[in-house]
Symmetry: C2
């Protein structure tokens, strides 16, 4: 990860491609992983879209989001089966075709040992968009693909994480986004008026208020995010004072 | 839930509003809940978007998706704090203002017992778009809102679920989407060629192939979804035969 331009705000979008997520069968586990890594990288995850395995939807979404963001990540749909249509539609989004990647084919051969094992379906995993680079898959056969600012990764979290970790050092980001918090055993509605005043005084820190409800009791986490640690420290102090003034004896400051 | 028109395909979109999900702090748990209930209801969850607490983004996303779908659900941003901006921006998307709901105010009063407890921030929870109906919140103070085909719900899963369950009987859907599956201890790339043939023969069933990777072994779940149970049964039988012919002795059929 190179933090080159501290003032520019870098953004990324994530496209989760898969009927299985929209049907509720599979719970997306990739968003939190990517989101957390983006904070350290100084890139804001600006939007996530979960879309079906539908060609035109993939093409349109990739084109819209790659124009609007510094980076686009996709997960899902890169395997050997008929419903794995991500690579061909990312290619279509860039107006290019697919070609057999010798490097990917060689990896497949290393994986399956014998050429006779490379069925048409398996060969499909070595077909990549013209001009694309491979993202290594250390777990199974199908590589990821990088074309322009779009990074096509597997949907299986273990594989996606390995791919993402290999991409991360190659991305450029701005100042890392730091997060700190104050947690109080008070309902957020009690804190709201004072909190709005704190937010008004500090527009370079984003303050989020997140209610918890456990065992019949309300609590609130007040999460502050920003790139300026001095401002962040001031805001945390002010919020800690606020919740103490409202009756919280031991706010948890993190 | 009224299943009125069995031929029409009803669709819904879900908008998850919250910086906390995009920062990775909060894992979305609402998508799987809504997705599963939609299947039974005969409504396809066509798209999910996770967007930030940003006014114009909320307005644009609500307007785009309410025009494209039968139903739009939103989660998050309906509380009393400064970062809860969903209600005002859904109102803006419909070109209406907010007004004090007497019913919601009366609920708040019932909840907080004394009018002196109803601060400006708490009163905000009773401000709803002109023309909107309330969705009861059985857990905490802030009600949900229904305006046109848009349903605005809490982000906290326990509250969201209660709200969603109260909405569900009022929605119209088509034929329920039924899901069945065959699971085999085979890599999906081995099944892929034959599976594509099965899919070609049955275009009224959507077949998804989902690899698993556990303890160094590959397995595959072949999930079939459709509204015609006879077709679904045929496809399941063909897939079971296919995986048996490829060496799976005990496919798990569900």
């Amino acid at each position: 990860m190179t933090n080159t331009d501290q003032d520019k705000i870098y953004t990324a979008a994530l496209i989760i491609i898969g009927d299985e997520v929209l049907s509720g069968r599979t719970k997306d586990a990739n968003t939190p992983y990517i989101a957390e890594k983006m904070n350290d990288a100084g890139v804001r995850l600006a939007e996530v879209r979960i879309i079906p395995d539908h060609a035109q939807t993939i093409i349109d979404t990739v084109n819209l989001l790659r124009a609007a963001n510094d980076y686009v990540f996709t997960t899902g749909g890169i395997g050997p089966t008929h419903d794995d249509i991500t690579a061909e539609n990312v290619a279509a989004a860039f107006g290019v075709g697919l070609e057999l990647s010798e490097a990917a084919y060689s990896d497949l051969l290393g994986y399956y040992k014998d050429e006779s094992e490379i069925t048409e379906s398996r060969k499909k995993m070595a077909m990549i968009p013209v001009g694309a680079k491979l993202i290594e898959n250390p777990v199974s056969g199908a590589p990821g693909i990088n074309l322009g600012n779009v990074y096509v990764m597997a949907g299986v979290p273990k594989i996606m994480q390995a791919m993402f970790d290999s991409i991360l050092p190659t991305l450029q980001g701005g100042a890392p986004v730091v997060s700190r918090s104050v947690t109080a055993d008070l309902p957020e509605s009690l804190i709201a008026d004072g909190l709005a005043e704190v937010q008004k005084r500090h527009d370079d820190v984003a303050i989020g208020s997140y209610p918890k409800y456990q065992n019949g009791r309300f609590g609130t986490s007040l999460v502050c995010r920003g790139v300026n640690e001095t401002s962040l420290g001031l805001v945390i102090d002010e919020i800690a004072e606020l919740v103490k003034s409202l009756g919280e004896e031991n706010p948890v400051i993190a």
